[in-house]
């Protein structure tokens, strides 16, 4: 087992539950394997660490072919809420925590969370808008420095 992965940096760039969860699962799983883990949130993936938004992330029912639902059905009021609630129930059964709890769990497990400077500027956000688990707001250059010597996963 000489070439065991020692370090990963995971980028979460997409919003919605289907955009955010895969990266969170990868990050938590990495910590469970004893792998040093960085998480970098950018663009709409940043909803996962914004205090006001992290608890209300939904699954997209429009423009999401993976839902196997015609977009015309997806636009009906309450569709996204219903799909989200179904997904949440299933995940709870599988012991997958809701986003805010997951973020806390990953931070407690020793993962380090960063917010993307460009997105922060674009959306006019401040450090106070983020949950306390966010270590700092960094630019792309710093992200590469932090990621040195490890693998980078883009989601």
């Amino acid at each position: 087992m000489e070439d065991k992965i020692k370090k990963v940096s995971i980028i979460i760039s997409k919003g919605g539950l289907e955009g955010i969860y895969p990266g969170l699962i990868m990050a938590n799983g990495a910590r469970m394997e004893g792998i040093e883990t960085n998480l970098f949130f950018t663009f709409f993936g940043m909803d996962a660490i914004i205090k006001k938004r992290m608890g209300r992330i939904k699954v997209a029912t429009v423009g999401n072919p993976g839902m196997h639902m015609p977009s015309l059905v997806g636009i009906l009021p309450g569709m996204s809420a219903m799909a989200t609630s179904m997904m949440k129930k299933t995940m709870e059964k599988l012991d997958i925590p809701p986003v805010p709890e997951y973020i806390e769990m990953i931070a407690d497990a020793g993962g380090t969370l960063y917010a993307c400077k460009a997105t922060v500027d674009m959306f006019k956000l401040k450090k106070e808008d983020f949950c306390p688990q966010v270590n700092s707001i960094i630019n792309v250059g710093r992200f590469y420095e932090i990621s040195a010597g490890g693998h980078i996963i883009f989601t």
């Binding site: 699962i25 938590n28 799983g29 910590r31 469970m32 394997e33 004893g34 599988l94 012991d95 997958i96 925590p97 806390e104 769990m105 407690d108 497990a109 020793g110």
Partner: protein, 105 residues
């Protein structure tokens, strides 16, 4: 099936070193596995986790997740990573004589 000797106890293990027959588990075996996993010693906090995992496994034949351990008040996520550095779920399960956890969380 490979065999391993811990102290003067011989146990059956799988390819990754997890016990395959829980009846062979003893506290001395647990201590020996813990040493193999790089833990200095097993203190009361370790035993609390180990015993809870064994109890849960007996009740629903599933190795409890970190989240379950956390929610049950046995140990917080932080504590678990401190007690079993470098992979709490896997290490604690192996020391407890249980199978490798299957979940992703």
């Amino acid at each position: 099936m490979p065999l391993r000797t811990y102290g003067n106890t011989m146990v059956d293990v799988d390819a990754e070193g997890y016990l395959t027959d829980f009846s062979q588990w003893t506290r001395a075996v647990a201590e020996a596995i813990a040493a193999e996993e790089g833990l200095a010693a097993l203190g009361p906090a370790h035993w609390k986790v180990i015993e809870f995992m064994q109890k849960e496994y007996k009740e629903n034949s599933q190795v409890p997740s970190i989240r379950r351990l956390n929610k049950s008040g046995v140990a917080s996520t932080k504590e678990l990573y401190e007690l079993f550095p470098g992979g709490p779920a896997k290490k604690a399960a192996r020391i407890a004589g249980l199978k490798k956890p299957e979940g992703c969380v």
